[in-house]
């Protein structure tokens, strides 16, 4: 189905609500249309176009809830979906934590940069050009490119029996490229994501991965241990996502979070270096996102870490009411403040350290301390006296983002990566525990 307008979403949701016999009913729509191209071995491998729209019906009787999701919208299926959700709700036990649908809300205007007509009208030929921009330069330098480019337009709507109505649409796309040297000793990576494809240059983006592949050939082994690391934004983003994603108020209050401590939580305490400020803001022009979330709550700017102090945790509506706190919603993006220094300037200012361009396979080891493990991947370098001396073999780390952010000693200028704004970071005493032979 082609991109739905707000009016079409409204009509569909009104039809669904029209079938409702429940005490409360809430409808959500999630739709997308887009395309992608995947390439490897310097050739295209798969490519496709996808479209789908999903409608979610949530029905309530008292505090009993039933939910049904469908992607077929003829009258008969729609009516049955509503009916099925009501049957599930009647069978469901009472939920003492049920909050009921919210009434009409005020939302901030969506940043106009969220939606780009140019992105919504990308053609298969443009996607082929993107693949070529990786493949041709890689081939000419005895390297092999693999990559994935995808673009989509997404639409979202929500209405309920208490009169709430919310609509959002945005476009997005991303390219990731891995270039490997044909001697098997070097590998480089780049990823870029955008709302508006107009500002995206496939040629210069791919060139970053190619340069890293060439520069990372013939890596030398170094002893695992504690090192000063310079983390490119691509390397830092996931550890930060894990930390911010773990800032749930209820888990902290219940004593099962890294923010729990004997007798309370660490909210209001200085947790990390005072140069660290992390916030979210759907109106941010660099990473625009939806001003509301799926339960209808408005999302505004929220500080999570403010100059090193735990400033806010996110709440479910139930837990906020129980604790008498504002129902701060989960963030829809992440922005970490930085400085003005470029990555190159940070390297020039480093006497001895490891430049990490990317981490891979990051997993929890201990949720109590947020201890994570993972490995460097696709180009890691040894830095000495302000210069990249040589490529090094990959290393496994065991480190907590909390300890990492306590050991910050420099922050550079943030760039967009994975829908977030992240600065390059220089961190002391980062713990590597073993070597990997992987290239």
């Amino acid at each position: 189905m082609p991109e739905m307008t707000d009016q079409q979403m409204r009509q569909l949701m009104e039809r669904a609500l029209g079938y409702s016999k429940a005490e409360a009913c809430e409808i959500n729509i999630f739709g997308s249309q887009g395309g992608n191209i995947r390439y490897a071995r310097n050739s295209v491998s798969t490519a496709g176009a996808n479209e789908d729209t999903t409608l979610v019906v949530q029905s309530n009787f008292g505090s009993r809830t039933g939910t049904v999701t469908i992607n077929e919208f003829d009258d008969a299926t729609l009516a049955r979906a509503v009916q099925r959700s009501e049957e599930l709700a009647r069978l469901a036990p009472e939920d003492p934590e049920f909050m009921g649908p919210m009434g009409p809300q005020q939302y901030a205007a969506v940043n106009p940069k969220a939606y780009s007509r140019a992105t919504a009208t990308i053609t298969p030929e443009f996607r082929t050009r993107v693949a070529k921009a990786s493949i041709d330069p890689a081939s000419s330098r005895d390297c092999t490119a693999a990559g994935f480019f995808q673009d989509s337009v997404n639409w979202q709507g929500m209405m309920n029996s208490k009169g709430l109505a919310a609509f959002h649409r945005q476009t997005g796309g991303s390219l990731s490229v891995t270039v490997r040297s044909n001697d098997g000793t070097g590998s480089g990576y780049v990823s870029r994501d955008f709302n508006d494809v107009s500002g995206f240059n496939p040629e210069s983006t791919s060139a970053i991965a190619l340069e890293k592949a060439v520069a990372s050939r013939n890596p030398k082994a170094i002893e695992p241990g504690k090192y000063t690391v310079i983390l490119e934004p691509e390397a830092g983003v996931e550890m930060l996502q894990v930390m911010i994603g773990s800032m749930d108020a209820r888990s902290a209050d219940e004593g099962r979070s890294f923010l729990a401590k004997a007798g309370g939580t660490r909210v209001g305490e200085k947790l990390v270096d005072e140069r660290v400020t992390i916030y979210s803001d759907p109106a941010d022009p660099d990473v625009p996102s939806s001003p509301w979330i799926g339960d209808g709550r408005a999302v505004g700017r929220t500080n999570w870490i403010d100059r090193g102090v735990v400033a806010n945790l996110y709440y479910s509506r139930y837990w906020a009411q129980k604790q008498g706190k504002p129902a701060t919603p989960f963030p829809t993006n992440m922005i970490m403040s930085g400085g003005n220094a470029s990555l190159e300037a940070m390297i020039r200012d480093t006497s001895r350290g490891v430049l990490v361009t990317r981490f891979w396979y990051i997993r929890f080891v201990d949720p109590q301390t947020l201890l994570l493990t993972g490995l460097t991947r696709d180009a890691t370098f040894y830095v000495e006296n302000g210069q990249i001396k040589h490529a090094i073999k990959n290393l496994r780390f065991n480190e907590s983002p909390v300890i990492m952010l306590n050991n910050i000693d420099a922050l550079g200028a943030p760039i967009r990566v994975q829908g977030s704004m992240i600065p390059p970071m220089r961190v002391r005493d980062f713990t590597f525990t073993s070597l990997s032979e992987a290239v």
């Binding site: 992608n36 191209i37 995947r38 390439y39 490897a40 050739s43 490519a47 496709g48 176009a49 996808n50 479209e51 789908d52 729209t53 809830t65 939910t67 049904v68 999701t69 992607n71 077929e72 919208f73 003829d74 009258d75 008969a76 299926t77 049955r80 979906a81 099925r84 049957e87 709700a89 069978l91 469901a92 003492p96 934590e97 298969p124 082929t128 693949a131 493949i135 693999a146 994935f148 995808q150 990731s176 490997r180 990576y189 219940e254 004593g255 004997a262 396979y361 997993r363 929890f364 080891v365 201990d366 949720p367 201890l371 493990t373 490995l375 065991n398 907590s400 909390v402 990997s436 032979e437």
Partner: protein, 543 residues
Amino acid sequence: MKRRDFVQWTGLGAGIAMVPNLGHSGLEWSGSLTPVPAEDRKKLADVGLTAAKAAGASYADIRIGRYLNQFINARDTKIQGITNTESFGVGIRVIANGTWGFASTNDVTTAGVARAAAQAVAIAKANATIQKEPVRLAPVPSYGEVSWKTPIEKNAFEVSVTEKADLLKAAAEIALKGGASFVDSGLFLVNEQKYYASSEGSYIDQDIHRIWPQFNVTSVDKASGKFETRASYSAPMGMGWEYMSARPAGRVVGLAATTYGNFYDMVADAAAATEDAKAKHTAKSVDAGKWDLVLDPSHLWLTIHESVGHPLELDRVLGYEANYAGTSFATLDKWKSGTFKYGSELVNFTADRTQPNSLGAVGYDDEGVKARRWDLVKKGILVNYQAIRDQVQILDQKESHGACYADSWSDVQFQRMPNVSLEPGDTPMTPAQMIAGVEKGIYIVGDSSYSIDQQRYNFQFSGQVFYEIKAGKIVGMLRDVAYQSNTQEFWNAVVGVCDRRDYRMGGSFFDGKGQPPQISAVSHGSSTTRVNGVNILNTARKL
């Protein structure tokens, strides 16, 4: 809208007539809202195949899929949601000018299917301009009209949500009564109704069922501000509701822990988990260094998955996953040598899409190839990979292994991991006998933290519960344990595999691979296994 179009096209509301009565009797039924009979899907499939050919495809396949899920989640004894999801659509894959193209749509009408077919061909033609070598497909027999269904005893979608909710509540009640601080639990049911047709004359109707019960018990020590958890010892299975029957035949009572085979007792496991979570607070922090490990199947499945299943995927070996999941250390030259020692002589790995009760069991894969079983590692030597129709010629093999899968109608099918399992040992041995022979070791039960590099050399795993073995006896619990090793080194350090009596499967609903990412469900069986001299880390940290 499109449903009406579809019903008109099929000549009457045949689909509607199949809908179960949704009055009072429907209360027990969570199946499809609007099932479509196979004969109507065949007609629709032929529309897509014909349209693809007309647009210039030399080959086409079409998958009309209806994917049902049910989720029931509980926080302690409170059921926090019962959700049924249903997704219906069609995906068309074509070869045109020697190049793959794919398009999918939820517009399942003649017009929608024909439009997707034309779009897939247009994409293939656009990509042909940068294609290096034309796609070659290994031959596959034309099976005509056939069907297959997971051999379940009781369809879990037909079990009342009340019964399911009561089970989660009972598990939480016994845990909370036993002193647990919190219990999070859930039931996850999957039913894939897949209709596959190809321009080579197969029409395959499959009805696939999976079930996954799980919980996590937390024990908070308010005085210290510390918390410990123990997750369920259940496995996701290719079974119906019978997995939840708690039949005694499923219970494996070990020296330190009770684990489960083909039948699961959620309530008994929740009680045991509570005792474990409490005991972990006072467990001894491990001494880092070399230890012999005795690994229960509830733990070892994940190590097999990461260090054997993934590196032997031929698409990874060839570089097709280089930009995402990675490549593989198990390169073609190692396989061709015929002497590459993946593991010790005791190590035999098989790939299997026919294994009863497993997540990977199907009748046919998603490109119409009949399910089969084959060797990957024999007596420690690498002997084969996992490959599909457009890859097997690279191995000089004539037939696809039948390992092609797509997680939805909306995404293109590609090579996915079959069940990959460690074969049981030939010499009779029980876990108790194995532990009796260990001087200084750690017995690990359950899976937890896992991480491995992109070529599958260096890995780190943890577990749910760790028991110290001293002079052949279990002497207490350990904590802060993770092991780091290298795939070849680890499997070559295997010195014992218990016999078939101890064989059990673990598995995952969420094996991720591909771009856009797709999930796949896969099981891994083993018997308890001993690995000598593995490097143990102490993971305790202070914030």
